[in-house]
Symmetry: C2
Amino acid sequence: MPSPGHARWRLDIAYDGSGFHGWARQPGVRTVESVITDALTTITAATTRVDVTCAGRTDAGVHARGQVAHVDLPDGEGARSEQTLGEPTLLRRLQGVLPDDVAVTAATRVSADFDARFSAVWRRYAYRIADSYAARDPLRRTDVLEHPRSLDLEAMNVAAGSLLGEHDFAAFCRARVGGTTIRRILDCAWSRDGAGRAVLDIRADAFCHSMVRSVVGALIAVGDGRREPDWVGEILDRGERDPGVRVMPAHGLTLEEVGYPPPQEWAARQEVTRVLRGESAEDDPALTGNDRSR
Amino acid sequence: MPSPGHARWRLDIAYDGSGFHGWARQPGVRTVESVITDALTTITAATTRVDVTCAGRTDAGVHARGQVAHVDLPDGEGARSEQTLGEPTLLRRLQGVLPDDVAVTAATRVSADFDARFSAVWRRYAYRIADSYAARDPLRRTDVLEHPRSLDLEAMNVAAGSLLGEHDFAAFCRARVGGTTIRRILDCAWSRDGAGRAVLDIRADAFCHSMVRSVVGALIAVGDGRREPDWVGEILDRGERDPGVRVMPAHGLTLEEVGYPPPQEWAARQEVTRVLRGESAEDDPALTGNDRSR
């Protein structure tokens, strides 16, 4: 709950992950959380560090167009302007202090029921691959992986189908202490975008650490013809990491969107999520160690 | 005409213009032409420099997704492999030596009638602007201009309409010695892309130096409400550069596509273009001076 004299804000955030050691604050490295926390602390003239909670703690090098965070900012007499902090003011001040690889694209006052992480019902990521000479675009080399062979999207989509629904994704998650690796995948399909790139659109209630990049690694083995589509479902069923599954590079991955229920369900959803996955998040760096580079 | 033992190739080229001082080779600076010439010279083991002719000599900082060039490469006994140089081989070798901000997306053997510059019938450019917080995307900051106010595309399109057709664009061109500033604009319209960015799609038989960026500068004055739509047509009619027209930054501009007639018309089109605009191209650095940075 926000402290007295504070109001809760939802921030929509986009970033080029190339220059960040992921979202989560860690000593001695540049992270998105640190940069945003510092910007908010500066513009609100807060005397203590402003805590920022996000929906998806992206790994080093992973990008975002639709990251969502919440933050409690001093309001009324607590704000520098001694006036109620408005959305245009907050956005303008943030743009003035944020570096050009992070943008806050929207700022919305929300009720204290909103929790960017625990109120969320799904996260949607995209993984982009240029698998032909014609699809190569140096302007997109920051967020598109180049792959030397043409991928068979039809075979990849057969394999992707076996991941849909609720499963224990231990085979595609980094080992961790505590918590569950059970997740529900709502969408998982490859298509070609207008420029001929292969794009995986994957949506789930939540993802564990490195899960999307492991799933992509398994599907690419199918798309390259090195494995049959059935192989992906077999790995899932075995529940153990398979040495044939490469964890794909971070730079092809972008957090595109986070889904929330209507405001009257924010509080209830928080409770459900906390029970399902435990108060400590699945991808808390304290649980997974400091090496978040892959 | 290609020398004996040489074959003509069409190369389709994409680049991030950020790291280049434009297309055209100039002493002491990194240009796209130099990088491609060096790559071709290396992979064909040519003893003299390979000359590359492009459709649109982009200025410093301007990008391309659909640049087209032609080049005459040693064939048969002249080629390193002592075999006929095939398209996959050429593409693979080029990719092996080109830096990651340039890509050759296609290589096609063409008849000697094809001239990338003089056979072209139109060039299409896009200018992209993020004019709202919501449209800001750090992953696209290399090729999208950020503009602090929301643009009125409807007013801009009224103004853009006055530029359509054949006119003397002296008011939007840098002064140059010789040649004509008469051009025919085939398309000139703003729209919103899927991410909410304002995109100018502009197509003409050819453009003179800095023409698109001057046109965008004039249209933005209208989109901001500082000028009435009629003002753009008035500038065109006066035929003199207007101090109210800003030459917009290069990084929002991308050469998207070049149009060619069917092969049987390549030779005739070359002749027409040479007569229309003179053997020396409209944007030859030798005629416009070395400062191509704006």
